[in-house]
């Protein structure tokens, strides 16, 4: 875990006002400890992603709001799918076989 100043050092060229904006907008959800912020690895990786979107892709605040919300929905869905597939994994072979057949017959025709 690193603090506010540590994260600023990790993201070369990022200024404190910008990082504060990310927290205000709830793009980042660091933990609060006394008066300090604490960033876990997941927060640092997300900060790097936001930094790239801002700097390299020149996304403004509104656009980034939208992109992050879509990404978060996508990952939420992928996590749910992962749980579903883990649950399927524990089913008897004949159940998994039946599901695999249903899935392949439900495939849309190739374009």
């Amino acid at each position: 875990m690193i603090d506010f100043a540590g994260l600023l050092l990790r993201l070369e060229g990022l200024d404190a006002a910008e990082l504060r904006l990310w927290i205000e907008r709830r793009w980042l959800l660091p933990e609060r400890a006394e008066k300090a912020y604490l960033f876990r690895e997941v927060d640092v990786a997300r900060a790097e992603l936001i930094y790239e979107m801002r700097r390299e892709f020149a996304l403004d605040e509104e656009a980034l709001d939208l992109v992050l919300s879509l990404l978060d929905q996508l990952y939420g869905l992928r996590r749910a799918l992962k749980r579903l597939s883990d649950a399927l994994e524990t089913q008897p072979a004949e159940v998994r076989q039946a599901i695999a057949e249903a899935l392949s017959s439900a495939l849309p025709p190739a374009p």
């Binding site: 997941v42 990786a45 992603l49 990404l71 978060d72 996508l74 992928r78």
Partner: protein, 301 residues
């Protein structure tokens, strides 16, 4: 990607200006960004190569050093810790809870995708009993004979106390109700099925509920009788060797087998040190006055 020059990676000519480099990078980075291409490792590899190429070419000093051949194309590579790696792990949940989709209830899942499995009026939704989980458990001979409680590790997080009933045999399966996989849509959980393997014992053999054991005895013990200690599955007991016992004499310890069975003790007379001058001298004299052929009548002549 190793060995490709950063110009090739970005699809640029050597004389490309900073604005061209930036445009080419942004176009490719959008295309291959790992967070926009989840589940495509090839996209991540391309993205890394594109990032590395851009890091190098966007820095005039590094670019000049590369152009002069002072650093290679990987000279400036900076590892990219993709957010995806965290997003799909347990810690990612804080930014994207599974939200509207409750996998605990398949009806919700199907409803979320507008597909079938809608409960009919008066009908029941989709329910399924959880899967059985199979385990194997090796138990010691004595544990199997007298019964025991054993802790079985189902997974690194989960262990279970298993009562092994007295008298269990190899290949028998214990069923622990409800300890299998969880049910779906309110269905009951599956069972844990534990196949037991009983390890052999160096002394004891089991025939049904009886235990058989070979017991070595000395010549004086066999001839004169003795009280000796004998192992049983319930611990050592004292047993009387009757006077005049022989190799092959079988004695019974009532109730010392499995679940009320008996233990049979077969004696084997062991001379020990085979060349004993005193014994030889005695047996020579004794043999003269006691002629005995133990093979008589046992082999056809």
């Amino acid at each position: 990607m190793v060995g490709k020059s950063p110009y090739e990676v970005l699809g640029l000519k050597r004389e490309a200006g900073p604005e061209e480099i930036r445009k080419a990078y942004r176009k490719l980075a959008k295309e291959f960004h790992p967070d926009l291409n989840p589940g495509k490792p090839e996209a991540e590899a391309r993205f890394k190569a594109v990032s590395a190429a851009y890091t190098l070419l966007s820095d005039p000093e590094k670019r000049a050093r590369f152009d002069r051949g002072e650093i290679d194309e990987s000279g400036a590579e900076r590892p990219h810790a993709a957010y995806r790696g965290f997003a799909e792990g347990a810690e990612g949940a804080k930014y994207h809870p599974e939200g509207a989709i409750d996998l605990g209830d398949l009806e919700d899942l199907f409803a979320a995708f507008g597909a079938g499995a809608r409960p009919h009026p008066g009908g029941r939704g989709f329910r399924a009993r959880g899967a059985d989980r199979r385990f194997s458990l090796a138990v010691d001979f004595v544990e199997a004979a007298v019964g025991a409680r054993r802790r079985l590790q189902l997974s690194p997080q989960e262990s279970l106390e298993v009562a092994i009933p007295a008298g269990i045999e190899s290949g028998q399966v214990l069923r622990l109700k409800g300890k299998g996989g969880p049910g779906l849509g309110g269905g009951e959980p599956g069972d844990a099925l534990i196949e037991v393997e009983v390890r052999p014992h160096p002394l004891f053999r089991r025939v049904g509920n009886d235990i058989h054991i070979d017991l070595p005895v000395s010549l004086p013990e066999a001839v004169l009788g003795a009280r000796v200690s004998v192992p049983t599955v319930g611990g050592a007991v004292t047993m009387t060797i009757p006077k005049g016992s022989d190799t092959g004499t079988r004695l019974r310890l009532r109730g010392k087998g499995v679940k009320g069975g008996d233990q049979y003790v077969s004696l084997t007379v062991v001379l020990g040190k085979s060349e004993d001058p005193d014994l030889a001298k005695f047996v020579e004299e004794w043999g003269k006055s006691h002629p005995f052929d133990p093979r008589r009548g046992t082999f056809p002549r």
